[in-house]
């Protein structure tokens, strides 16, 4: 597809649902609703919040309460959504979230939104924080409908689902057959991209290394720097912990149950009634996060960390995920 056809491509997508794409906001990018192709910043490095915000909302009412009487589900009409411009890491992260939230019994709120979302990926170049190549998540082979590979003046459109297939079938006027030259360009660009990664993490045996070096001094050094702000969790595309509270109106009759993104750096995360805390110190929580992120999802065989670099890029204390793990490897 020639780049000059992107406009028409975009207009067709709009007919399929509300289009959300990375948009520049100051120095940052954010997945936002877009109305015109000019707003879309396909050349972005990363958004602060990952696409998970569309499926598990940062803050949402899940049940209506009749005090002392019972509960009612808050059912949302599924709304067609086109998520345009996801990087391979974020697509793989959605697969990890799917494996958790769609595992039986599934999370209905998530399921409804996920099923109504069309995912269109876009190729990218790594910056100083990206380490998806180390995690093996720099390539999305499933979990999307279409994937746009930028080849200079055109996009090579890769199809990832039957839904994606039918979308491009309807666009035969703007998406032509790729040529042999296109494929060679794709190969060369992919090789170039592959050589661009500066952040390297040794991932073979990583779970075992992280687990077995539990007593390493490295955890102490970095957890002393950590200010427990929870940013790394909130910006992480696979962090999915949520907390639940109930609020009651002044009439004392009605209320809502609310769920909100949580962070394992917060004191109450592993606290049980009566005051026992299963992760009482910052060190415990710091190690917990790194263990959780270094493990492998048994259902997808994907790592729980997809190397998007957000936790490093948005950590106020400047703690870099790869630097911490490299220190564990003894490479600091």
């Amino acid at each position: 597809m020639l780049k000059e056809n992107f406009k028409d491509f975009f207009e067709t997508l709009k007919k399929l649902g509300e289009v959300h794409a990375p948009v520049r906001r100051g120095r940052l990018f954010s997945f936002t609703k877009v109305d015109s192709p000019g707003e879309v910043a396909l050349n972005y490095n990363r958004t602060m919040l990952p696409p998970k915000k569309y499926f598990v909302k940062p803050f949402e009412e899940v049940l209506k309460i009749k005090v002392g009487k019972g509960y009612e589900l808050i059912v949302e009409e599924p709304k067609s959504l086109v998520l345009l411009g996801l990087h391979a890491c974020d697509i793989n992260a959605l697969r990890v979230l799917d494996s958790v939230y769609l595992d039986e019994p599934q999370d209905d709120y998530y399921q409804v939104r996920r099923a109504a979302a069309i995912v269109i990926g876009v190729s990218c170049e790594p910056d100083e924080y990206c380490f998806c190549k180390s995690m093996g998540t720099d390539y999305a082979w499933t979990g999307f409908d279409l994937f746009l590979h930028e080849l200079g003046t055109s996009y090579l459109v890769r199809v990832g689902s039957s839904r994606g297939e039918s979308i491009i079938e309807s666009m035969s006027n703007i998406i032509g057959e790729p040529t042999k030259e296109d494929f060679i360009k794709l190969r060369d660009l992919e090789l170039k991209r592959s050589r661009m990664f500066k952040k390297i993490l040794n991932t073979s045996l990583l779970p075992d290394i992280v687990d077995s070096l539990h007593e390493s001094e490295v955890w102490v050094v970095f957890s002393d720097k950590c200010v427990s702000c929870g940013s790394c969790n909130l910006v992480c595309p696979t962090c999915r912990c949520y907390d639940v509270t109930e609020k009651v109106e002044l009439n004392l009759q009605e209320g809502v149950r609310v769920r909100r993104w949580d962070s394992c750096f917060i004191r109450s995360h592993a606290l049980v009634a009566g005051g026992l805390n299963f992760r009482p110190t910052r060190l415990d929580r710091f190690r917990h996060r790194y263990n959780c992120k270094s493990s492998i999802d048994p259902r997808t065989n994907l790592p729980f960390c997809v190397g998007c670099g957000r936790c490093s890029a948005f950590c106020p204390a400047g703690i870099d995920h790869v630097n911490v793990l490299n220190a564990i490897w003894g490479l600091a």
């Binding site: 906001r25 100051g26 120095r27 940052l28 954010s30 602060m48 919040l49 940062p58 803050f59 002393d224 720097k225 950590c226 200010v227 427990s228 702000c229 929870g230 940013s231 909130l234 910006v235 509270t245 609020k247 009651v248 109106e249 002044l250 009439n251 004392l252 909100r260 993104w261 949580d262 962070s263 917060i266 004191r267 109450s268 910052r282 890029a313 948005f314 950590c315 106020p316 204390a317 400047g318």
Partner: protein, 257 residues
């Protein structure tokens, strides 16, 4: 309790009464609120002073004078549940910034006298330093939304829940660019307890910590070294930290010379 209403008192110690002002300012909710309460005393709304037993006492202001001390002890005796509202009652307020300085010097510099005019105790204490406090709602001033949640729980006899996450969580949820990461600002968001929906960062102003530190958790040393790395001077950071939380243990330690 009389009928369905609970008996409450709103008591002021040393402070600007801003917390109570915020309560009185929620005009659209007041009628509904007072339907649930039998208010025996409300310092900012009425000059009536009674020493009646109440179910719940709401206190704002720091314990600064001998009178504060005596009144507070009486309130504690007269109530079942005692709630400290606002930064003054929870942490001693901005006035507690002077913790560690000599009271006589202060009196001299402000009033040009060595006499103790108003039986100043020499420091500005949090309510919990003097009597047992059941619940603390931070903020300068308090957020009325949080006050209502607390009130509704207290009325129903339900143990209230309090936030224990920092302002950063609310910044991220609202996708506000981090003022520390993007601009190297001396933002206290990481160690300050959330609940304000990151109001200041939303308006591009760094958090000054008015809600006080995340209790028992705030990594003050980490915040300090983080800001030193961003190029701030130690004294600048300490001045920020002490403004609303001079009596938090780790900040008090920094103030000892």
């Amino acid at each position: 309790m009389t009928g369905n209403k609970i008996k409450v008192g709103f008591y002021s110690l040393t402070g600007c009464a801003g917390d109570f002002l915020n309560i009185l300012n929620m005009e659209d909710k007041l009628l509904e609120v007072f339907k649930l309460l039998d208010v025996v005393e409300f310092a900012l709304a009425s000059s009536k002073v009674v020493h009646e037993k109440v179910d719940v006492a709401f206190i704002e202001g720091s314990v600064t004078t001998q009178k504060d001390l005596e009144v507070l002890k009486k309130i504690r005796e007269n109530c079942n549940v005692l709630v400290a509202l606002g930064n003054c009652a929870v942490w001693g307020g901005v006035q507690a910034e002077l913790t560690g300085l000599d009271a006589k010097d202060l009196m001299k510099s402000v009033y040009n006298t060595t006499e103790n005019y108003y039986s100043f105790l020499g420091e500005h204490k949090a309510v919990s330093e003097v009597v047992k406090v059941d619940y603390e709602l931070p903020g300068c001033p308090i957020e009325v939304e949080e006050f209502l949640e607390l009130l509704i729980d207290v009325i129903r006899g339900v143990i209230p829940e309090f936030k224990d996450y920092p302002v950063c969580v609310e910044c991220k949820i609202r996708e506000i660019p981090c003022l520390i990461v993007e601009r190297g600002e001396a933002c206290l968001g990481p160690i300050t307890v959330g609940g304000c929906k990151a109001r200041c960062p939303y308006y591009n102003a760094p958090c000054i910590g008015c809600r006080g530190p995340v209790k028992e958790e705030a990594n003050v040393a980490g915040e300090l070294s983080m800001l030193l790395e961003k190029g701030w001077k130690k004294q600048e950071v300490i001045n920020r930290l002490r403004l609303f939380a001079a009596r938090y243990k780790d900040i008090a330690k920094l103030l000892e010379r």
